[in-house]
């Protein structure tokens, strides 16, 4: 399956833009996606715990994404207002 990671705010600076990850499985746990991003971009050095949004919902690290192609937003804690 294909996971399109769309980073925002400080994570966009770190990743440089959208990232496409390919997985051989048809479903992937969010934690595995984060681990892959960590190995590629060392996102933990920012010191900000990411929030994950899939299908307009905030999901946990244990959430399982399914399908041929999924969009995942990688964002910091929100700062509206």
């Amino acid at each position: 399956m294909r996971v399109i990671v769309r980073p925002h705010s400080i994570f966009r600076d770190r990743l440089g833009g959208d990232v496409i990850l390919e997985f051989s499985e048809k479903e992937v746990v969010v934690k595995n996606i984060l681990d892959k991003l960590e190995s590629m971009y060392k996102i933990s050095v920012i010191g900000v715990k990411p929030v994950i949004i899939v299908n307009d919902e905030i999901v946990t690290e244990n959430y399982v994404v399914r399908g041929d192609s999924v969009e995942l937003h990688l964002v910091p804690p929100f700062s509206g207002g």
Binding site: H8, S9, I10, I46, G47, V75, P76, F78, G80, G81
Partner: protein
């Protein structure tokens, strides 16, 4: 219950008189309107001057979450109207960032609801700020944390 939730661009005009006229006609049993207006600060962290505060969001998710907040708070405080308008884009000091308007039967419910809605929007809606100042650019993370942007 009436809900009006919007993400507005910098160029969209906000007519407060029209808004007040509209919300004050909602329900004859209501006796209180609280209107909160957020604006961009010109000075932060002592005397650091802000040139621009740039707002971005995940629009679809943001609208859904703000609608959920409006529905839940309407039920909790028996509100007749909830308006949440949040601006996006590059805003200058003094420009309006967010409007919260609530119409309730009594003032206590109206004040409490408006404050709760604002706090929930700040905490739950996927909106992000980049503060462009005389001393650099800073990502604002959560309510208070600032991280200086690396110069590329």
């Amino acid at each position: 219950m009436n809900i009006d939730v919007r993400l507005l661009s910098k160029d969209e005009n906000i007519d407060l008189n029209s808004l007040l006229r509209a919300v004050s006609r909602v329900n004859e049993r209501c006796g209180a309107i609280v209107l909160f207006i957020g604006i961009v600060k010109g000075l932060v962290e002592g005397n650091s001057r802000v040139r621009v505060l740039e707002y971005t969001s995940i629009s679809n998710a943001c609208i859904k979450i703000m609608e959920k907040i409006a529905r839940e708070e309407s039920e909790k405080y028996k509100l007749s109207q909830v308006t949440i308008w949040h601006r996006l884009g590059a805003l200058e000091p003094g420009e309006v960032t967010v409007i919260i308007a609530v119409v309730a039967e009594d003032r206590k419910s109206a004040f409490r609801a408006a404050e709760e809605i604002l706090e929930r929007v700040k905490r739950e809606a996927p909106i992000f700020k980049l503060e462009k100042r005389d001393d650099g650019e800073f990502w604002i993370i959560g309510d208070e944390m600032r991280v200086k942007r690396e110069v590329k």
